[in-house]
């Protein structure tokens, strides 16, 4: 099929799809008039039942925790897939080590190097306070994975394979994923239902409160940081392989 025919067909099909969707959304509740009831129910029961005011964290890690378990396994599987795809390529090339790359400027090295520590601290803060403030395991984990990129920008050649760090990143990711799964099973054992909040709830607003929610945040934060760092490291290594030696 030629490009022109394909574009025309796509435009026709998209016009039909667009018209259908416009008709569909015209009948939704007007913007700003959320009809409920699920959000309202959660707003009523969460502070009393889970001792936290962070409704989104309570939804993600507790009331709808089973979805998060599946989502987390998607992340785990996708990271494994990325590594498998990119590693195959490396073996084909038969290159044991990456070629040197030109040194970055002094500014990049200074700022990148100086920011690695604070970024890791910020990631830990966002993860640990996920049941009190906006944030949590997913966002904090991505921030933590970003620290690796900063190290790369600062001129560290990310030759992780040689020092075995990729294996470590894989373990970190697996520990995080397994930790959340263990939390789910812990609920099953301790309270009779998967992901049941079986840890003492503590006082609302304190760091140690809300039962399993902060624990789940930490497990997910570890997993996401490991997965992001692993994927980024594999892609960076690809970039190094692509450069002419």
């Amino acid at each position: 099929m030629s490009r022109r025919v394909r574009c025309v067909m796509a435009l026709v099909a998209l016009a039909v799809l667009g018209a259908t969707l416009v008709v569909a959304v015209a009948d939704l509740e007007p913007f700003g008039h959320y009809p409920g009831p699920y959000g309202d129910v959660l707003a009523k029961v969460v502070p009393g039942e889970r001792h936290t005011g962070q409704l989104v964290a309570a939804t993600v890690l507790d009331y709808r925790g089973f979805d998060t378990l599946g989502e987390e396994l998607i992340l785990f599987t996708a990271a494994c897939g990325c590594v498998a795809l990119l590693r195959l390529r490396r073996r084909e090339r038969g290159e044991a080590s990456a070629p040197e790359r030109p040194a970055p400027s002094f500014a990049a090295r200074a700022v990148g190097g100086a920011l690695v520590g604070p970024v890791v601290v910020l990631a830990a803060y966002v993860v640990i306070h996920g049941h009190l403030t906006p944030g949590g395991g997913f966002s904090g984990g991505v921030i933590g994975g970003g620290a690796l990129l900063l190290a790369y920008a600062a001129g560290q050649n990310v030759r992780l394979r040689r020092v075995g760090s990729i294996g470590m990143l894989e373990s970190v990711e697996a520990v995080g994923a397994g930790g959340f799964a263990a939390l789910a099973i812990g609920g099953l054992i301790a309270a009779g239902a998967t992901l049941q909040n079986f840890v003492p709830l503590g006082t609302s607003g304190m760091l140690l409160s809300a039962g399993t929610i902060p624990i789940g945040n930490v497990a997910i934060g570890i997993e996401v940081a490991g997965a992001v760092a692993l994927i980024v490291a594999e892609f960076l290594e690809q970039a190094l392989l692509q450069e002419p030696a």
């Binding site: 796509a10 998209l14 913007f31 700003g32 939804t59 990325c82 996401v224």
Partner: protein, 114 residues
């Protein structure tokens, strides 16, 4: 005006799919898919929005304050994570396709080579 936010979601979906269909570069294709996926964030958050309401976090606000729907926000969080992983996987496939075929134009990847 009451459906404008929903129409933005429809527009993002249409524009994203059109970009995927007409793309000449695999990385461009993945970005277009990201645009199409962004429509779901807009739609979900627009459905849960409530005029004049606060973010669904009772830290500094009394519990009687009206808040927007936390369920769709949680769904959006799931959505963002899944779309990010899909993008990573597709980009890894693009790297492989470039290696296999020496091209990142989707039109040149269709030939069966024996």
């Amino acid at each position: 005006m009451s459906v404008l936010a929903y129409l933005v979601a429809v527009w993002l979906l249409i524009a994203g799919i059109y970009g995927v269909v007409t793309s000449r570069h695999l990385v461009h294709l993945v970005i277009c898919l990201g645009v199409a996926q962004a429509s779901t964030y807009v739609l979900l958050l627009a459905i849960g929005y409530r005029s004049g309401a606060q973010a669904p976090i009772f830290g500094d606000i009394p519990q009687s304050t009206p808040v927007v729907d936390p369920v769709v926000q949680a769904l959006t969080l799931t959505d963002v994570v899944v779309s990010a992983t899909v993008s990573a996987l597709l980009l890894a496939l693009a790297v492989q396709a470039h290696k296999r075929f020496g091209s990142v134009d989707p039109d040149e990847l269709n030939a069966l080579r024996g």
